[in-house]
Every structure is written in structure tokens, then in C-alpha cells.
């Protein structure tokens, strides 16, 4: 077991966005700024040829941080997909491990050198192992919620997925399970309007993923996914509802994907220069920063200081990760099975 204890990222939960303190607001902003900075660093590293792949989170920071902030790290169960680093950071994933994972080195979490970069996986944080496969995590999340309900342990499960993922059969099957069993489960769609190059208008004939919920007897809500407070509020409410046995909720958080799909993609192939230009005007991290400054919860200086601190921490993590040794090729054969051929399984798992 390679888990580390959850970092003390979040000390307290509050039911609605209104009840958040100024400390909470600053913490939300810090996490968003951290995620943005990690993303920008990764994008640069990729362009410099120092890493081979990254799936950016730019534009999704508000939704990821806002929703994850409504969870109890290490108690609630979290199924992410490949774009969810801000969820991980909010729950307490540390920078050294994140950058080891980005460089494909032997991190003790996220599948180390074997797995795709930034596909989150951390036992202590109950970040269930993410794969690159679209939508498979959704029925799995229903299963985790079923287990929680069976044990009657008051944890809530949340599952993240994109707008494209809703077309897969697995999305439908999972919603149906969740509805039938009234599972303590929050479906959080990071609806950025695109699945790689396919706009949501070719993905579905309704205007919102939330429209799908009623057909299962599940409440569905559209949320402004660029506003961390809106997302926090909606998630906190859905989590509370799930926690008190009210069953699942489908949240459809609308947002923009500010970059190409991944480092392998070029969005200029399917977006006009105007569309790309427009994206630049909608940075949820900048917007929230301005909002907090206007509100007096943050000063320019504090924000600048935070940026510096983050940059330094990231630079250190990059340096460490890049210098970390390559994995031992003998390790290729480990952890295929837990019990060797011809051996009996342990009496208790």
C-alpha cells in the first residue's frame, strides 16, 4: 500500500456557498491558482519536449476545485477522469507525486511510471484508480456508492466525466442503477462543449446533459462551471442530499476548455481563430481572483506572493521529478496478480 495520509487541504465543510468564510474563499482561489500553474508548467514542459503527454485542466479549475471542496477528503469516494488534476490537488495530492507522475517516473501514487500522467489514483484520498477509458468510471462509482450504502457508512461518492462521456452506454446504465437503488452518488459532468473536436451539438440533441436526469427520476441541474462558488454550492447540496439518503443528483457544470483536448491535439483544426481568441477572455482563475480582490478577500500583493510560492514549489517538484531515476525494467513483471499460481489466497483478503 503506497498511500500517504490526506493533506489537510480542507478543514471544514459547509452546506452552501454562502456559508463559506473568507479563508475558504482564499483557499479555493489558491487551489485554482495551483492547478492553473501546474497545467501551464506541464504545457511548457511538453513544448520543450521534456514530457510526452498532458491532458490540460485549464478552464476546468473552478468546477474541479469547487466540487471537490464540498467533499470530505479520505472519507468520500472520488472517481475522476484524465482531466481532473484540480480535484486531486483539492483533496490533498502533493506536488512531488504529481510531477513524478507527469514525468512517468516511479511515483508511489497515480500508477507511477506505468500509468498515463495525471491519471489520479490514491488510496488514502479515496481517489479511485482512473483510466483513459471514457465513461467506465461511472458504473464503478455506482458500485462504490452501493458498497457505502450496504455498509451504511455515511460516505458519498462523486464521479467526474465529460460531456462526450454521456453518450456511452455506461453513463445510462450507471444513472439507472443509481436511481433504482437511490445511491449516495453525485454525477458531475464537466461539460466543456467538446469531446476532442466534436461539439456537443453533434453529441446530443438536447441542450444540456442535465436534461437526461428526469428520465431516470433523478434531479438534474445546470451549474455555472466557471464559478467555483456556484459549483461548490450545488455540489454541497447534492452531497448533503446523498448523505441523508436522498439519492443521486446529476450536475451539469458548463465551462470552457481553454486549450486543445490534450498535448496531442491542435484545436485550430476545428475552432476558428475567433473562437480561440474568445476562450482567452474566460479564465475562471483570473475571474475569481478579480472577484476576491474586489470583495477585499485578497490583495494584489497576496495574490502575487501566492503565485511566487506556487511557482517555486512547482519548480522544485519539476527538478526533483525530472532528475528521478528511470524505473527498473525488472519491475515490469510485478503486481499482475496478488496471489501466485498454485498458492492459496489468504484466509481474509
Amino acid at each position: 500500500m503506497a498511500s500517504s495520509a490526506p493533506a489537510a487541504a480542507i478543514t471544514q465543510q459547509r452546506d452552501t456557498a454562502n456559508s463559506l468564510t473568507e479563508d475558504d474563499l482564499r483557499r479555493l482561489y489558491e487551489l485554482m491558482a495551483l492547478a492553473k500553474a501546474c497545467d501551464e508548467k506541464a504545457w511548457t514542459l511538453h513544448r520543450q519536449g521534456r514530457i510526452s503527454f498532458v491532458a490540460p485542466c485549464r478552464g476546468h479549475e473552478a468546477a474541479q476545485v469547487g466540487s471537490a471542496y464540498a467533499l470530505r477528503p479520505g472519507q468520500d469516494v472520488v472517481f475522476t477522469y484524465y482531466r481532473d488534476i484540480a480535484v486531486g490537488l483539492t483533496l490533498g495530492m502533493d506536488l512531488p507525486n504529481m510531477f513524478l507522475s507527469l514525468f512517468g517516473k516511479e511515483a508511489l501514487v497515480n500508477g507511477g511510471s506505468r500509468h498515463m500522467p495525471w491519471h489520479l489514483c490514491h488510496t488514502g484520498l479515496k481517489l479511485m484508480p482512473a483510466t483513459s477509458v471514457v465513461a467506465t468510471q461511472i458504473p464503478q462509482a455506482a458500485g462504490a456508492a452501493l458498497a457505502a450504502k450496504y455498509r451504511n457508512d455515511d460516505s458519498v461518492t462523486i464521479v467526474y466525466f465529460g460531456d462526450g462521456a454521456t453518450s456511452e452506454g455506461d453513463f445510462h446504465e450507471a444513472l439507472n442503477w443509481a436511481a433504482i437503488h437511490r445511491l449516495p452518488l453525485v454525477f458531475l459532468c464537466e461539460n466543456n462543449g467538446y469531446a476532442i473536436s466534436t461539439p456537443v451539438s453533434r453529441q446530443m440533441s438536447v441542450t444540456s446533459v442535465a436534461d437526461r436526469a428526469a428520465g431516470y427520476g433523478v434531479p438534474g441541474h445546470i451549474v455555472d462551471g466557471s464559478d467555483p462558488l456556484a459549483v461548490y454550492g450545488a455540489t454541497a447540496e447534492a452531497v448533503a442530499r446523498a448523505r441523508r439518503g436522498g439519492g443521486p443528483t446529476l450536475l451539469d457544470a458548463h465551462m470552457r476548455r481553454l486549450r486543445a483536448h490534450t498535448s496531442d491535439d491542435d484545436n485550430r483544426r476545428y475552432m476558428t481563430p475567433e473562437q480561440i481568441e474568445e476562450l482567452r477572455k474566460h479564465d475562471p482563475v483570473d475571474e475569481f481572483r478579480q472577484k476576491l480582490i474586489r470583495r477585499g478577500a485578497l490583495t494584489q500583493e497576496a495574490a502575487q506572493h501566492l503565485d511566487d510560492t506556487i511557482r517555486e514549489a512547482i519548480d522544485q517538484a519539476v527538478e526533483m521529478a525530472e532528475a528521478a531515476p528511470e524505473p527498473d525494467v525488472a519491475s515490469l513483471a510485478t503486481e499482475v496478480f496478488g496471489v501466485a499460481a498454485g498458492q492459496l489466497p489468504p484466509a481474509s483478503l
Partner: protein
């Protein structure tokens, strides 16, 4: 004398008594399932542990995976192995990779029970042998018992195994195989069993075909050919040592299986023998299996499709005379 089917039911009951974390889920399970393997279990353990699932295999496996990651030990049933295909993505891309890609920090203790196999007038969608498809997938164990005793003992190990296990139950054996008494202890996975000893020729098989092999071996013995029958019991792990030891002794190998000839587990076993026991071989490694066509409904065709003790005997004669 309990049947193979009762052995399965007993195995499920025993594990559910022993371990609160074991739950069952699948189509029609609550009412006993279409083969009645889970009959009485809902009354004993309640609907929270014996779950009638929606008709959706991908989620039956997906939900099982997720429940296993969150501390349960799910035993999903796929009503017929023919219907595992909708769940292929969850099995191959997810369940199989969890331990490896999480460096062992997570694992996925699910046992997917699947009635399979022909000889029961099931036609093209209730007879298929799909086990071959999983053979090259690292991270999935494949168990195929041929006796009632093994059915229970291997089911115990499968459920206790910390990784995903595909547990194939041959429908033809459900009511035809019986044990004097059922074991209460598990058998390790990856240990083949020599069902009959012989010095002239080895038949390697598994599932219902083991009994066809034994019948043919009996007939061959009356013709003076001593056939050894190796029952693989698990395709993964594959007990290479027992197979190779037998072939080294007899110098002749016939691989008998019920899946389509091409690409089946028989190909793997034949390739293993050809690579590792080449020096000891006194004849070609012969494969006997159904032709590369779909499973037919009509019973005249079904009989022509499946290997029989006669066709095995003919192959024995030919190989023995080589």
C-alpha cells in the same frame, strides 16, 4: 450426492456466511437465477446481498468493480457467458488493469460467474465458449471446473482471490456431475489435475471435454493404448509444469477443447508444448475442437459440431499409431 450446480450454490452460501463483504448481483438472481444456482440465497441473505440487477452487463461488471474498490467482494453473474461481451470493456480495460496500473495499491476482488458451453440444445446464443478471448489479458484469472468437487473448491478460491476471476460453469455439467461430498476448503488456482494416468499419449483438456476425454481414454485402453488425461482446471494461471511433465512422459499430445479451433486455449497449450517439450515429442501436437463456425441450434448439427468420445478415440488411434 450433490450436483455441480449444488456445489456452486453451496460455495456461494459458504462464502457469504463467512464473509459479510460477499454480495451477489446479476439478472434474475434474486429469484434463483435461470439455472437456480442462487436459489434460496435471497431468503437467507436478503435483497441487499443478492441483487437483481437491471439487464445491463457492462454495469453488472462495472458496479462490481466499483463495489470491490470500496471494500466489498462482489460475485456478479452473467446469465450466459454469451452475454459477457457488453461487459468486455469493464473487464479488459478496467478490472484487469487495476492492480497493475495502481502498483498494487488497489485491487479488484470480483468473481464473474458465467454459465457456458454446449451440448444443451442452447443454439448459437446459449452455448458459446468465450474463454479464449480472455486468454491473453494480463490480470484476469480463468477458472473452469470439470467436477462438482472442483466446482466448489475452486469457487471458494476464486471468491477469496484478491484479483478478478472469470469463473466458467459448464451448463452440461450442472446436473450431470455429482460429488460424494463437497469440500469445505479451497483449492489453489493454477494446479492442473491428472484425471487418468497413462503412458502412451496425453490429452490436455478442461471443462466438459474432460469427460469426453476420459470416455475416449477408457475406450482406448481396451485397444491397448494408455491415455493420460490432464484437466487444466484453470487456464490462467496455466499449470505448464503438469502439462509438460505429462507430455515428456508420453511423448504424444492431443489438446481437446470446446471453443472454436482457431485461437482457442488449445492453441496456447499446443504452442507451449511445441516450444518447451519439442525434444520429447514423438508426433505432432494434435488439436481437436469444433470447426470455425458458429454454434448451431439443430441437434443433429450440434452433435456434428462438438467433439465426441468417438472423434477423440479416432484421433487417439491416429496419433498413437504415428
Amino acid at each position: 450426492m450433490p450436483t455441480f450446480l449444488e456445489a456452486i450454490r453451496e460455495g456461494l452460501r459458504q462464502e457469504m456466511e463467512r464473509d459479510q463483504r460477499v454480495i451477489l448481483l446479476g439478472e434474475d438472481l434474486g429469484e434463483g437465477g435461470v439455472f437456480r444456482a442462487t436459489e434460496g440465497l435471497v431468503e437467507r441473505f436478503g435483497r441487499e446481498r443478492v441483487i437483481d440487477s437491471p439487464l445491463a452487463e457492462s454495469s453488472i461488471v462495472g458496479v462490481s468493480i466499483g463495489a470491490s474498490l470500496n471494500g466489498l467482494v462482489p460475485v456478479p453473474e452473467i446469465q450466459f457467458a454469451d452475454y459477457i461481451h457488453p461487459a468486455m470493456n469493464q473487464l479488459v480495460n478496467e478490472a484487469a488493469k487495476i492492480r497493475y496500473l495502481s502498483l498494487g495499491t488497489f485491487h479488484c476482488p470480483i468473481t464473474v460467474r458465467m454459465p457456458f458451453g454446449g451440448g444443451v440444445h442452447g443454439g448459437p446464443f446459449h452455448s458459446q465458449c468465450v474463454e479464449s478471448m480472455f486468454l491473453g489479458i494480463p490480470g484476469l484469472k480463468i477458472v473452469i471446473p470439470s467436477t462438482a468437487t472442483d466446482a466448489k473448491a475452486l469457487l471458494l478460491s476464486a471468491i477469496r482471490d484478491p484479483d478478478p476471476v472469470l469463473f466458467f460453469e459448464h451448463k452440461y455439467l450442472y446436473r450431470r456431475q455429482r460429488a460424494d461430498a463437497l469440500p469445505n476448503e479451497p483449492l489453489p488456482l493454477g494446479v492442473a489435475q491428472v484425471r487418468r494416468e497413462g503412458k502412451d499419449l496425453t490429452i490436455v483438456s478442461y471443462g466438459a471435454m474432460v469427460h469426453v476425454a476420459l470416455a475416449a481414454a477408457e475406450a482406448a485402453s481396451r485397444e491397448g493404448v494408455a491415455v493420460e488425461v490432464v484437466d487444466l482446471r484453470t487456464l490462467c494461471p496455466l499449470d505448464r509444469e503438469t502439462v509438460l511433465a505429462s507430455v515428456r512422459k508420453t511423448s504424444k499430445a492431443l489438446v481437446l477443447y470446446e471453443a472454436n479451433r482457431t485461437g482457442g486455449a488449445g492453441a496456447e497449450v499446443a504452442a507451449l508444448i511445441a516450444e518447451e517439450a519439442f525434444e520429447d515429442l514423438d508426433g505432432p501436437v494434435v488439436r481437436l475442437a469444433p470447426p470455425d463456425v458458429h454454434f448451431p441450434f439443430n441437434s443433429t448439427l450440434e452433435q456434428a459440431y462438438l467433439p465426441t468420445s468417438d472423434s477423440v478415440l479416432a484421433a487417439i488411434r491416429k496419433l498413437a499409431a504415428y
